[in-house]
């Protein structure tokens, strides 16, 4: 099993450009999450999904959109990239919403917005 995979691994954008980050998991998990990691700020939740066809806002959702058309995929979109969105993005999944379940993380996508 590949676990959680993310595409692409690196990306450089110019201000105003758009892009989509893809997260895929092969563990049949119901829950999926997108975080951003910034120095000194830890990981902050952008959006999450509790099942196919559902999404919800996290702590820092502005400037991002998501879609969960298939259970195994969770897409994060930036419609008009800004330098403040330069970050490392992590996707994660878990088997249910029960609080003691473990979240499994992808390898991350390093995004630079010039």
């Amino acid at each position: 099993n590949a676990g959680v995979t993310q595409t692409p691994k690196f990306r450089v954008l110019k201000t105003g450009q758009s892009m989509t980050l893809l997260c895929a998991q092969d563990m049949n998990h119901e829950y999926m999450y997108w975080y951003r990691q910034d120095p000194g700020m830890g990981l902050r939740l952008i959006h999450y999904s509790v099942g196919e066809g559902t999404t919800a806002k996290g702590e820092v959702p502005d400037g991002y959109n998501v879609s969960r058309l298939k259970k195994q995929n969770f897409l994060l979109g930036l419609e008009s990239a800004a330098p403040s969105q330069t970050s490392v993005y992590f996707c994660a999944s878990s088997s249910s919403g029960r609080s003691y379940n473990e979240q499994f993380f992808g390898p991350g996508t390093r995004l630079t917005v010039l």
């Binding site: 919403g97 609080s99 979240q103 390898p107």
Partner: protein
């Protein structure tokens, strides 16, 4: 809203010395607490959770509800423990993790 604070951004110890990574939280209910670790060039992974009361790689963490703390401890640090450590909290009603700022641990030879 819940919050997790890790007061030390950087922590450096020598091999064989005890190490304690501090974690404090604010939440009025009964949260679940976790420690996640990210080794160099590896993905973030769960180290331990308080509900399991387990010791992983020699690390332990005790939930102190009176002090609202969940400090991570190891009596004898090893060089391979060098990594970024995140304390995280989940409120009882959901699965959303709230992370602290992280502590970069360096164990020197």
């Amino acid at each position: 809203a819940q919050r997790v604070t890790q007061p030390e951004k950087l922590l450096s110890v020598f091999k064989g010395a005890p190490v304690e990574l501090k974690c404090n939280y604010s939440y009025s209910g009964s949260p679940e607490l976790f420690w996640y670790v990210q080794y160099s060039r590896q993905r973030l992974q769960l180290l331990l959770r308080h509900i399991s009361r387990e010791s992983i790689k020699g690390f332990t963490a005790d939930l102190n509800k009176g002090e609202t703390s969940f400090h991570l401890k190891k009596p004898f640090a090893q060089e391979e423990d060098s990594a970024m450590y995140y304390c995280a909290l989940v409120v009882a009603s959901g699965s959303r993790l709230t992370f602290g700022e992280g502590t970069q641990l360096t164990v020197n030879p």
